[in-house]
């Protein structure tokens, strides 16, 4: 089962290496990992998506807590949290099909962030299913390059205040 771990860490050098090293040496798989500063410059937030059963998740959490730089770990319930991912897709768009591609992007409320003679680069944010749907629709045109940020998430307001 997929879990989204929201991990607050001290913003110190080497913390990412400590976390990623722990996952690899203990045989835990990371689906995605996104990291960046929070409202407090001394604290960063890592959003880690893992595929693990309950026993494994418990080990992951306990082992993570043993790292001195880890401050707090929350296992976000998808029903009580908002999650987003940002993806950039550079897709084939020669003049004869450019209109079609643009229309598809518009339906998804995606933005065009770069244009060349033969390609469009599309920016989309949203849930995994929405992104997947756009990707599937664009694939027949020829996706030249794709990059995704990995999932980021926050607990919903009510839960966060509790």
């Amino acid at each position: 089962m997929k879990h989204i771990l929201s991990v607050l860490v001290q913003n110190k050098p080497g913390v990412l290496a400590r976390v990623s090293g722990l996952f690899s040496r203990r045989g835990f798989n990371i689906d995605s990992l996104a990291v960046g500063p929070t409202e407090n410059p001394e604290v960063s937030r890592m959003t880690i998506v893992v595929d693990a059963d309950d026993v494994k998740l418990e080990q992951i959490t306990k082992q993570l807590y043993k790292l001195v730089n880890i401050l707090k770990i929350s296992d976000l319930d998808p029903r009580d949290s908002v999650e987003r991912e940002l993806v950039l897709i550079k897709v084939n768009a020669p003049p004869n099909i450019r209109g079609e591609v643009l229309e598809t992007a518009n339906i998804f409320r995606a933005n065009i962030v770069d244009v060349s003679k033969s390609t469009l680069t599309i920016e989309i944010t949203g849930t995994a299913t929405k992104i997947q749907a756009l990707e599937d629709l664009l694939r027949p045109y020829g996706i030249k390059e794709l990059v995704r940020t990995g999932k980021i998430a926050l607990a919903r307001g009510k839960l966060a205040e509790a």
């Binding site: 400590r18 090293g21 807590y65």
Partner: protein, 589 residues
Amino acid sequence: MRITGAEALIKSLEMEGVDVLFGYPGGVVLPIYDALFDCKTIRHVLVRHEQCAGHAADAYARATGKVGVCLVTSGPGATNLVTGLANAWMDSTPMVAITGQVATNVLGTDAFQEADITGITLPITKHSYLVKDVSQLPTIIREAFQLAKSGRPGPVLIDMPVDMSKAEIDFKYPEDLTIPGYKPTYKGHAKQIKEAAKLLAGAHKPIIYAGGGITHSEAWDELRKLAETVQIPVTTTLMGKGVFPDDHDLSLRMLGMHGTRYANYAIMDSDVILAIGVRFDDRVTGKVSTFAPHATIIHVDIDPAEISKNVRVDVPIVGDAKTVLKDLVTAVQKIEQPHGDKTKWHELIARWKEAYPLHYHQNGVIRPEYVVDTINKVTKGRETIITTGVGQNQMWAAQFYSANTPRGFITSGGLGTMGFGLPAAVGAQVGKPDSVVIDIDGDGSIQMVSQELATVAANKLPIIIAILNNRFLGMVRQWQELFYDHRYSSVDLDVGTPDFVKLAEAYGIKGVRVEKIEDVEPTLKEAIEARKPILIDFMVAREENVYPMVAPGASIDEMLGGIPGASLSQMIDEEVEKRETHPVSTRSK
């Protein structure tokens, strides 16, 4: 007060009460060694290889209960220390290691003697620091010591670039310390403790399985109190040897792969297990799926990650062994309903003890077990610390030496580091100058660290080095004999092993060879009285095996050997018969 980083480092160590450093100098630690030259309070013990600085600091910590400290240079000095750190990590020893590092302006450029030691040691340190701002140094050292000794202890590394040692700071040692994100739990959950007390009191076949955590939290008195109050038999792990007296009536001695038959039978047959300061290592559990099938397991550990890691636990208690045991004793005493009847259990155990004592046949050549047995005899009543190599020598020491006091048996448990014995003896003797320190070693193990004879000689450490010399890598040979059809691949050391007596003499240490059974005891007695370094080369039976033995992957009550008067084939037949008549039900994880 403006002082250099190197001076601040030494001052900080003084503030932490450090009185011994095990180390080896080199280029980038020159400023530190220069500051050390003027230091009156810290003794520096110069080892002859950095790995041994780690092992000596490790054993010093285990013998004294203080934090062990070592100091080495960058690059190869630091990489040589890696095994020392890994050993301390696996056995949870409180240790602070200081490595030199190239200057910050050339960090990351593959400078001369540069190694990314904080990177290399990430998986084998509790925490590590690379000093990039010298003003932070006192805080870093304060934190490092706090981390090393609190919670589940472990090694902490401080990597100190040379320019940080030379830079000046206003020195002030921090008094208060908060480490955000680090809050070990000491007090066990009251409800869980009550539940555990109820289970233990009500049990008919309880057993305590105690380990190294008892040593770290100095909980041996509380352990004994609980065992005696409820009359629970106690088995200890290799790391726990000494936390409960081996000679105590309730002692089952060591369990596991080379444990006693009665300890292994008892844990497999038990109805309640109190596991405390242990981690269900594979050398203890054998096949996990068949381990203790009828038992309700209570697991007490300060490290939450150990609970239900290998074996599913019924009553988890996160906390410090001493605190929890104290509360457990109180809780047990409060129980009003009559305790479960344990007399049948004690009778059964007594029968096992009588039928399957640890034993050996001393005939012809000296048996290695006889040497350990004699060491046990001649050290009775003396404050003694045993250190060991790794392999057969270690297992015979664990089986036949009766550790009756805590901190008296120092061995490489988790990592199984051959060569640990001699540097460990150095660390133990430096920490406990009045104790009799005996390194029970193997001819293979000691050859990995024999340069430390120089450290022994230079410091006039009255260590007794007892080599059980079978001119084989004995444990590997034993496995090849039993599981690889006697194909002795690369284990015969007969040609090439030095004359250990001459080797000792080359270092200015007395060396004695013992080849006759009747010389074993007088030589050992004399060595203990002499209080001088001595190496005794015991020429023992070449192909003696360590029994009982649980084959790898087998259930721990399926043991080879260890039945007096039975030949090996008979024993195996009996095992098979026993298994067929008493099938072991499977434990679900």
